[in-house]
């Protein structure tokens, strides 16, 4: 029983992390039709900037609580800033050449990820978090690290926030309408380019946030941190349906749990099951679980 509870909760925490990464990817694809390979780098940078902040504010490897929360803010801001730079500087000039947009995000992802290695060396870094986060709580006999709960709570907040944003705000409406028919949105006098930048920045912010939490989840980070998780986030996005935030949330839960449970029994079954799941979804329901008929 305790194993089951532990696996479920860590699986959900993993799902939460994937969701933070996938939600932005999904939004970006929905509105802009861009498969953003640089998203993993925003995640990596979120993790590194969080680690760096803690290192600056409370040195000697003791993460204080204020330092941790400051780190989360910094990670979010850094993610948003990098995303804005990539969108304005690299994607905008290539709007007429979609495949090259994908390629340039690949290049940006590679460069930005390697930049962390250039600045902070390629070795893994221990992520110092406050004791109350790395301590465990006992639930139904399972000792679960507290950062798992924080991650789940953050993802739920983000999910709620994004649904509110999409349903209630003007920019949310622009994003939803733009995913349907970009040209008509333009013809209503709306500056779609600005909406693109905003969505990209929002996605980057979420990825940065996810990176900081991911660092707490895994306890250490290295330059390939983002690219490893990006692949799973892609799978989440496809299974959930490109452009659907709710779909991403659902798919993230499926993937997170499958991976935790699968990998508990053998070291590889979880990852493998996910790939089979992806193949099955694409062949049986090409639009994804919650996908529209694009």
């Amino acid at each position: 029983m305790s194993t089951f509870v532990l696996l479920t909760l860590t699986g959900l925490a993993l799902a939460a992390m994937y969701f933070l990464l996938a939600a932005g990817l999904s939004l970006i694809f929905g509105l802009m039709d861009v498969l953003n390979f640089a998203h993993g780098a925003f995640f990596t940078w979120g993790a590194y900037s969080a680690w760096w902040t803690i290192d600056q504010v409370s040195p000697a490897g003791t993460g204080s609580t204020p330092a941790f929360f400051l780190a989360i803010v910094v990670a979010t801001v850094v993610g948003a800033a990098l995303a804005t730079i990539v969108e304005v500087g690299l994607l905008r000039p290539l709007y007429a050449r979609p495949i090259f947009q994908v390629l340039v995000t690949l290049g940006a992802g590679l460069t930005l990820s390697q930049l962390t290695s250039v600045i902070w060396r390629p070795d893994a870094r221990v992520f110092a978090q406050p004791n109350w986060l790395s301590d465990t709580s006992t639930i139904l006999g399972a000792r679960v690290p507290n950062n798992r709960f924080l991650l789940i709570a953050a993802a739920l907040l983000v999910l709620a926030g994004m649904l509110l944003f999409l349903k209630k705000t003007r920019y949310g409406l622009i994003v939803r309408a733009g995913a349907e028919n970009r040209e008509m949105v333009r013809a209503l006098g709306i500056d779609v380019d600005r909406a693109f930048t905003l969505v990209f920045a929002l996605g980057g912010a979420l990825a940065g946030l996810g990176g900081a939490f991911g660092a707490a989840y895994f306890g250490s980070i290295d330059p390939s941190f983002g690219s490893v998780n990006l692949i799973f986030a892609f799978i989440v996005v496809v299974i959930g349906g490109l452009g659907s935030v709710t779909g991403s949330a659902l798919a993230a839960v499926v993937i997170g749990l499958a991976q935790q449970f699968g990998n508990y029994y053998t070291s590889w079954a979880g990852d493998f099951v996910i790939v089979l799941l992806l193949a099955a979804v694409l062949l049986l329901r090409p639009g994804g679980l919650m996908g529209s008929t694009r």
Partner: protein, 251 residues
């Protein structure tokens, strides 16, 4: 026929300055040369109908005015200001409402959300209310997804969307397209109610609707203006219709 004569005749007829002026506008879809030097004026307070057979370049004209297609040559002015090189949103914000050919309502959004999205900064609640008054049917369905509406209702959403702002000019593209005759009549009635409150450039192949609404008529063929005059003139001229609008004998 040169562009200057058309402009002069239009201005001479009413003695007012045009709201919209196209002068020698050329535009392309991919590499195909669709507009080959279009020139005409739209006068304030009037409904100008753009006529011509399929493929003549009517929709392209509207899209070029909006900037959705770039004009490779020529100038487009609204209230005397050149908007040929402006981006689409900048053009629209000068006060243009657009009802596209295929309605293009946002199917996943509710009726209310469709209309709110169309509101530009400065749009008043009063205008929104008036748009609803014009289409009482829509008021009842404010919370309904636009995608679940009938074709006629979607056309009403598309028109209402152009009415929520205080526009100088409406561009309306074939509001009768693909609609059953009864629905065409409803749409015509609604547009008659709008007429007079604003200037309209209307693309329409349905002569009955064009007659009911039009003050001036511009006929284009093969991307060039071939006739400009009053709507009455065109309605009465069967030879002109036969020649440029499609059926009615071999020219």
């Amino acid at each position: 026929m040169t562009s200057t004569t058309i402009e002069r005749s239009a201005t001479a007829r009413t003695g007012t300055e045009p709201i919209l002026r196209l002068a020698n506008v050329h535009s392309y879809i991919a590499e195909s040369h669709i507009l080959q030097g279009i020139s005409f004026d739209v006068l304030p307070g009037r409904v100008t109908v753009l006529l011509g057979r399929n493929g003549a370049g009517k929709t392209t004209t509207l899209r070029t005015i909006l900037g959705l297609l770039p004009a490779r040559e020529g100038t487009i002015t609204l209230d005397g200001a050149n908007l040929t090189r402006d981006s689409v949103h900048a053009v629209v914000r000068r006060g243009i409402g657009y009802v596209p050919e295929d309605r293009d309502v946002f199917a996943g959004l509710t009726v209310e959300q469709n209309l709110r999205l169309a509101q530009r900064p400065g749009a008043t609640g009063e205008r929104l209310a008036r748009a609803y008054d014009l289409f009482p049917d829509l008021k009842k369905r404010g919370a309904q997804r636009a995608g679940s509406l009938s074709g006629g209702q979607q056309q009403m959403v598309a028109i209402a969307r152009a009415l929520v702002n205080d526009n100088r000019l409406l561009l309306i593209d074939e509001p009768s397209k693909g609609l059953a005759p009864v629905v065409v009549n409803q749409v015509t009635e609604a547009l008659v109610a709008v007429k007079g409150t604003t200037t309209i450039l209307l693309v329409e192949q349905n002569l009955a609707m064009a007659r009911a609404l039009g003050d001036d008529a511009v006929i284009i063929d093969d991307g060039r203006v071939v006739h400009a005059g009053s709507m009455d003139e065109v309605s009465g001229d069967e030879a002109l219709q036969a020649r440029y609008l499609g059926v009615g004998g071999h020219a």
